[in-house]
Symmetry: C2
């Protein structure tokens, strides 16, 4: 079924042992340069391909990393995590590892079913991309493989996490809005739903406090229900002059809603997002937002998990990656009253 040239075949052809072939092909000591060359040439000629499986078996290592994305983050339009997966996949390849994507279904999450790639020992570790439920996190602790959380963290879990700097990102962009003369600034997001949103809210809050702007409860607008589904937003009676949204998609939704109600962005009010994903440039006007450094986050996660595979004792704690503000057209300077 396959070509199946093995080291032994090469050895026989040359009248040496397979041990020698193994050494030569792996550039190990103990074979004369002459023979080494000859072996390599013959291997090439015979179309030899290295059999990773055999090595894996011997070493008890699969050279695969499972990447788990909860189903709810993979809607048709939610390209953000799939994009990040792509970066992870590339980063892992640098280390000779490969990513196996596993979409965690809502059902399996609820029933606490561990991924089959774990049960079948297909992977050496996991990157969990996107917040999963607390109970499932608990359950995952029973898996005796290293794990890295990506783009979220859990306060109770001592699992390493790579996150975007939500707090300072939101802080910075709120500062920018304030610098444009705004004082009535709302935050849009369900602050109880994920750690990222909560941190973004707190960054927003810090900016307000620093500028002696009194935060008001009516200025926090809920955008989604417990299950993460987006809901119609209730705008405050007195319209704020600016909205800090917890992500670009919500900013997009908000702008649509504002338009429907007859408001113009940014003339009547400014709106900023977070993530710099598809929505940022497809919204009219294009969004001023915080760009998340996907490459670096993916790179870190890959590096960490591979180090942890080699040395499970290793820990990194919570590592946050700086984002940066992308200035576009959704914010307008206003005269301070």
């Amino acid at each position: 079924m396959k070509n199946n040239v093995t080291m032994r075949d090469i050895a026989e052809r040359l009248g040496v042992s397979s041990v020698t072939v193994s050494k030569a092909l792996n550039d190990k000591e103990g074979v004369s340069d002459d023979l080494k060359q000859k072996i390599k040439t013959v291997a090439e000629e015979m179309g030899y391909r290295y059999n990773t499986l055999a090595k894996s078996m011997k070493e008890g290592v699969t050279y695969n990393i499972g990447v788990i994305i909860p189903e709810r983050f993979t809607g048709a339009v939610q390209s953000f995590y799939l994009n990040m997966y792509q970066s992870i996949s590339r980063a892992l390849e640098q280390y000779g590892y490969y990513g196996i994507l596993h979409i965690l279904t809502n059902y399996d999450e609820k029933e606490l079913n561990l991924p089959r790639i774990y049960v079948e020992q297909k992977v050496d570790g996991f990157i969990i991309l996107g917040q999963v439920g607390k109970k499932y996190i608990e359950k995952m602790k029973s898996m005796d493989l290293p794990k890295v959380f990506l783009d979220f963290y859990d306060e109770h879990a001592e699992i390493d996490a790579v996150i975007t700097d939500n707090f300072y990102g939101a802080y910075d962009i709120t500062n920018y809005i304030v610098s444009q003369g705004h004082r009535d600034i709302a935050f849009v997001g369900n602050i109880y739903s994920t750690s990222s949103i909560q941190d973004r809210f707190l960054g927003y809050l810090k900016s307000l406090l620093e500028h002696k702007i009194r935060p008001e409860e009516s200025m926090v607008i809920n955008d989604r229900d417990e299950e993460g589904r987006y809901i119609e937003m209730k705008l405050p009676e007195r319209l704020p002059t600016a909205f800090v949204c917890n992500n670009d998609q919500v900013a997009h939704n908000l702008i649509q809603q504002l338009k429907r109600e007859g408001y113009n962005v940014p003339d009547d009010c400014s709106v900023v997002g977070f993530d710099n994903d598809v929505y940022a440039t497809l919204t009219e006007p294009q969004l001023t937002t915080v760009e998340v450094n996907v490459e670096e986050m993916a790179g870190n996660a890959a590096e960490f998990i591979i180090e942890k595979v080699k040395n499970p004792i290793k820990t990194y704690g919570r590592v946050s990656v700086k984002g940066k503000i992308i200035y576009r057209d959704s914010v307008k300077e206003i005269k301070t009253r």
Copy 2:
């Protein structure tokens, strides 16, 4: 490093042989039901996990399928193929297989470097997602593993392909436009760049011919260069009343351009897309388009490749999956003159 409970451990605990354990755990004949039960219970107790690697080694099968996506189809916004990858990944899992994503870089494509997952024998077959260059297709033929093309095909290659029904999709949607009273209908797309675009163009053409509408060369508008980069489009002197775009993103670009030039869609002219991806709903107005049946395409590709792994002789030829028109707001009925 791992828990490493093996069949032998279970066997020793029970005073039987590992052969018996293997049989019991795999529900094979030749073990009394009684013993079978006992073995399963003990396995559970000891936290035994099946070692796929060992099985793979024995059988010479990896249970992995490589999914190759050319780099140029994975831009930040190009979620379409990543989405399809996700569906493939799910479909494969049904068969006990896993997908390994490999992004084919422009460099590797040009240099004709085969993917490392092939060289290292990490996979049993390939799904190639998105048109790759002719030379690379030739090169890939040297890989002695089954392959399935997904979302494109190559006339010279006798490789099985799963495609969306581009021809009839474009034909149907053009018919719809004609039924809305349009006669001046342009096609937008570089008809030399991919087989899909070409087929969509031909579907458009068939509809025109059937309705005795004389096709004009000026009515074919180029949207991208040889490398697939989008370019500014040249609108014809006399504006057609409708545009059939080869995909949603292009439709989106076109609408932006029309807006800039002071035209209103659909009042001044109608525009339709193809794919029903992110752009379809994010464009204003939302696009009438042809929805590609991603699930079914992914499902077919997965099924085919796995059958071919089991039986390399098997061929499927070119299988096209029907799409369907999604009616939205970008087409307006006009009075026939």
